[in-house]
């Protein structure tokens, strides 16, 4: 890592297929179940816009799709929109790579920004492990470990 870059890497192995994992990463209704009620909106093609939206419709992050190669690789330009000090850091880049390994898929998420230190990368570092644990649990067992902050009450 260079001195002018902050980079975090998150890796998990999920017993599923690349196609199912890709669908889980790009389908809003499914996303809400493991992303604490948040979801992404995008056409998921290179050049299309991208945003991360909270359960009550607030846009937390926005940007665009740099690369989309289903079901293998997704690169997102990612700028925070909610907190001024995080927004001021500018665009980060989030790369998701899906690689079949035996009966599972290795999901690697690399979140990078061209500055060091970075409050944004610190801020997301607490979130990604929880989101990935939930995603793994949901795909493997059909249930999440941690419930969304606004679980359905029925």
């Amino acid at each position: 890592m260079t001195n002018s870059e902050s980079r975090f890497v998150y890796v998990t192995y999920i017993r599923t297929t690349p196609e199912k994992l890709w669908e889980a990463l790009t389908t809003p209704e499914f996303m809400k179940r493991y992303w604490f009620g948040m979801h992404c909106e995008s056409q998921w093609t290179a050049g299309s816009s991208w945003k991360l939206v909270s359960g009550d419709g607030q846009i937390f992050d926005a940007g665009g799709i740099v690369e989309a190669e289903p079901p293998r690789r997704l690169v997102i330009r990612w700028q925070h929109q909610n907190k001024p000090e995080l927004m001021a850091e500018g665009e980060s880049q989030c790369t998701m790579e899906l690689e079949p390994v035996g009966e599972a898929v290795k999901l690697s998420i690399t979140h990078t920004i061209e500055r060091r230190p970075s409050k944004l990368i610190e801020a997301v570092s607490g979130g990604w492990p929880k989101i990935l644990s939930n995603l793994k649990s949901l795909l493997e067992t059909g249930a999440t470990v941690l419930q969304a902050p606004n679980p359905r009450q029925h």
């Binding site: 192995y13 599972a104 470990v145 606004n150």
Partner: protein
Amino acid sequence: MIIDMDDDSVFRALADPSRRQLLDRLHASNGQTLGELCQNMEMSRQAVAKHLAILEDASLVATQWRGREKLHFINPVPINAIAERWISKFEAPRLNALSNLKRTLEGESNDQQ
């Protein structure tokens, strides 16, 4: 190749103080080469490489290549999985309590999600 972050390999990897020290060093400065991680360590390069391999097998360390340099990154996902194993059942009610509080304060009905 290991295809799962099984708890035994994670606990075994974490049981060694030198390996915890390597994780601490990556936590302080992520994305280091083997050479950088060897600096100020009272261990041979071979010993550091062996410890890193055990951490990588347990998925506690992820590696990426940049040119000819292999960079090591701490992977917090298995550590979070260990925490959730014992904490989640306490955390979930807390999240529920917060959402109930929010709903009460905002006067939402249960159907408005």
